[in-house]
């Protein structure tokens, strides 16, 4: 089949081993890096992808992305979120977003950012935001 019989058995075996090894290396690395990042085995000091996505959605006022990163909520709560996002001042300009650091314990992690914004009225604000994430969902924002 597919002319594989034309390839010498030794080469066939070597190719098969190369492919199996490659797949195992790729999948094993993906699994290990995800496990280490999520469990905080190595301290979890790096920025979480979920925290980063949440911050970007928050600053861009993407209500749909925010609701995907929060725990499941009823339809009225989601509608309120949509209204809040649309009623926020549209001319707020983020000047900087700095990831200060975080810590993890099991499925729970905390990630802290410093944000600078400039409102249309010229008002400047420099404030922190701490995100608490459980199992990939942002459960607390302060």
């Amino acid at each position: 089949m597919f002319g594989l019989n034309l390839i010498p058995p030794m080469v066939r075996t070597a190719l098969a081993m190369l492919i199996v090894g490659g797949l195992m290396g790729y999948a094993g690395t993906a699994f290990t890096t995800t496990l280490v990042a999520d469990s905080g085995i190595l301290g979890g000091g790096g920025e979480s992808n979920d925290a980063h996505k949440y911050m970007m959605a928050l600053l861009k006022r993407e209500a749909d992305s925010l609701s995907q990163l929060r725990p499941a909520a009823d339809v009225v709560s989601r509608a309120l979120d949509q209204q809040n996002a649309s009623q926020q001042a549209q001319d707020v300009k983020p000047l900087s977003v700095t990831y200060l650091g975080g810590s993890s314990s099991g499925r729970l992690s905390v990630h802290i950012y410093a944000v600078e914004i400039q409102a249309g009225s010229g008002q400047y604000q420099f404030f922190p935001l701490a995100l608490t994430i459980v199992g990939g969902k942002v459960v607390r924002v302060e």
Binding site: G22, S48, V97, S103, T132
Partner: protein, 133 residues
């Protein structure tokens, strides 16, 4: 001949394994890039380090001496629902226009014995803690 063949098979498998790891390392994008500017990190302010130490050593007298009542109440709200602090980690600080934000993560237990982590940020102006978030 069999030994040579076994060694060759093992070598190709290991070669594939290494190539798989390398391909993942090259193709993994990790976290998307931050489209906004970032501020340079600053060192942990001494005044916030003292507060963190007092919190982690359960030193209520030290906290009372270092913070006024308004800031203490903000700190109380910020660390809720923690009632028993067992670890304190300084995670980073940034400074802008004379205002410093020093971030900490406290670990411990709630009143019902649940292990939790709580993040809070001490706001510093002129070597004085002026607020807690």
């Amino acid at each position: 001949m069999n030994n040579v063949r076994a060694a060759l098979i093992l070598a190709t498998f290991l070669g594939g394994l290494v190539a798989g790891v390398a391909i993942y390392a090259v193709t993994d994008k990790g976290t998307d890039a931050n489209p906004y500017a970032t501020l340079p990190r600053s060192a942990e302010p001494a005044v916030t380090a003292d507060v963190a130490r007092a919190l982690s050593t359960d030193d209520a007298r030290g906290l009372a001496n270092q913070l006024d009542m308004e800031v203490l109440q903000q700190l109380h709200s910020a660390i809720e629902p923690l009632t028993d602090i067992r670890s304190m980690k300084f995670v980073g600080a940034v400074e802008k226009n004379g205002r410093t934000l020093a971030a900490y993560v406290a670990g411990g237990r709630t009143s019902d014995g649940t292990d939790v982590l709580v993040g809070f940020v001490l706001r510093v102006t002129g070597d004085q803690i002026v607020g807690v978030n």
